[in-house]
Symmetry: C2
Subunit: 343 residues, 2 copies
Amino acid sequence: MTRLDDVAREAGVSASTVSRALTRPGMVSEATRSRVLATAERLGYRHHPAARALATGRAGLLAFAVASLANPFHAPIIAGAQEAAEEAGSELIVVVTDGSAAREEALFERLADRVDGFAAVGPAAPAARLAEAARRLPLVTLNRRVRGVSSVVIDTPGGMAGLGAHLAALGHARVAYLGGPEGSWLDRRRLRELRRAMPDAEIAASGPYPPEFDAGTRAFDAVAASGCTAVVAYSSTVLLGLLHRMTMKGLRAPGDLSLACADDLSAAGLAMPDVTALRVPGAEAGRLAVERLLDLARSSRPGTPAHQTLGVTLLPRASTAAPGRGAGTGRRRGDRERARPVE
Amino acid sequence: MTRLDDVAREAGVSASTVSRALTRPGMVSEATRSRVLATAERLGYRHHPAARALATGRAGLLAFAVASLANPFHAPIIAGAQEAAEEAGSELIVVVTDGSAAREEALFERLADRVDGFAAVGPAAPAARLAEAARRLPLVTLNRRVRGVSSVVIDTPGGMAGLGAHLAALGHARVAYLGGPEGSWLDRRRLRELRRAMPDAEIAASGPYPPEFDAGTRAFDAVAASGCTAVVAYSSTVLLGLLHRMTMKGLRAPGDLSLACADDLSAAGLAMPDVTALRVPGAEAGRLAVERLLDLARSSRPGTPAHQTLGVTLLPRASTAAPGRGAGTGRRRGDRERARPVE
DNA sequence: TCCTATCGTGCAAGCGCTTGCAGCTCACCT
DNA sequence: AGGTGAGCTGCAAGCGCTTGCACGATAGGA
């Protein structure tokens, strides 16, 4: 492996100059800089991360915690985070918490003095612990806001306003909400906002449902018994399961039941049936989280935590329509696009 | 942060002794060792990874490449890998290749002198490049075997023997195979083995299908047109989509079509309908890959590459039965469990 | 023309840990 | 009793990079 010295010797300068040419462009003359860069390039020089980490105190690593990798919702978030990290010359260590606060804290503990920052999607730990952790290490929470901790939140609760209005306008008065993991900061807010958006409707919340297909099939019975005319699910995977069970029973969307969900995975390359959903900027959220983390790491001074909120947009599709009254009667009122049964 | 010196001073020994007490238990006397350990514990000493990496030349990091995080098939594999890495005191850097050989090589290049080893699930790069990479850095391929590179393979092709026999015994003579990504080492072999296991049946292969729900819905038409009585999909996500579309059309499994897939995700905590599948030991594969990687890293000598194959077992479930002749006729021959239509 | 900023570069001291080597202390053997 | 080896421990030299400081050169002002 070529080292700094090799480049220095070859370019006829000292190692310090090479180091500066590579990282502090303004500190060396243009002439030497270009010569050094060319030499480095020619010799295929790559800095030794450990040596740099030892000298600077920065590891060039970031930790990124998610509850599960089996949930495709996280895929674009991680992809965005990874891209941002790569651009900044850092690597991402993705860790899985299984949604357990204990495991989350254990992982933080384990990684705290090995990485330059820690990001967590929907962390389960109590707010006080998170705030404490943030004092020790750059910390960013995604989809959860905690006093004293920088955060990036995809505003699906805010999206409930539009979605609720949409359903209300269609005439739905009884809506089922299929909720996410217990104690989810975001999920509580989604439900609250949905209720606020549909003050005249009855919202029957059930859950918690894990973000799995089968949870949706199980949810069907509760939904069917509730007499609701529309369903809002926090996860499209759950909704897919529900849709499947419905279809099994000979019911269709939107004829028999209107369907909507709070995350649109088609943006993640995961096409799914034509379901009304919220467009969630997952990749952007991941990217912003990493950028914030790097900001925090750069200015070792804690500073005031920044909270960012990413808006979502409603994607009205074929799975929602005015409440119907029986199987297979999806077609009504001439709106062909909207009334086409969902597959 | 407490350093080695702090512990040394506190314990009344030199830093070298502390270092040895911590990593080379046999080299210090029992008395000093326990004293040092207790002191380290009391002061909350944790070694500085960068310093250790610089001194030893080992980074304590492993790279793990997968094509996509949106594919839940990878979740247990990564989980197993992570667990093994954690036990060994290493961290895992999970990277996403999007199935592109170019990105794969770029990532390898980028990480090669930053990690102690590189594992790749179903790598897309040509065999020669992989062999070359293996000469440079400990490398393990999963679900692909390459001459000169250690590998761990989940033997789904082998599982096709049992699955084929199962279908043949039920009387299926026309079977559709829904194949995976183009150029997949494993997928080619699965198809070959399925054909070998059902020499008297006609196997209609189609694809490539990405591992997504919607790919399954698209696949339905091809399957329906083919006149097959059974479907074998490489991915359960694809099969889920197919099942959904079938149901939409009023068809049921196994009455109208028997269904089976090559990966069983219920082991990954992802319950899905009662589909005949192969139990795939994903977590074990991930774990073994990491252990092999660490072996290779320890014995800097390349040694002979080791190839491990993990067997799969057939999980016959309700989605396969003797070929039927019409919708809703799933119930036959008194086998209630087997004949229950799949939901 | 001499003095003083300014700019560019090199020197050398680390960053915290590991490890070859040397030295010391005993126990054991002859 | 002296010699010898084994068993522990400490010394010090790095691992490859960054960076404060000093120094020399150059340009500008007086």
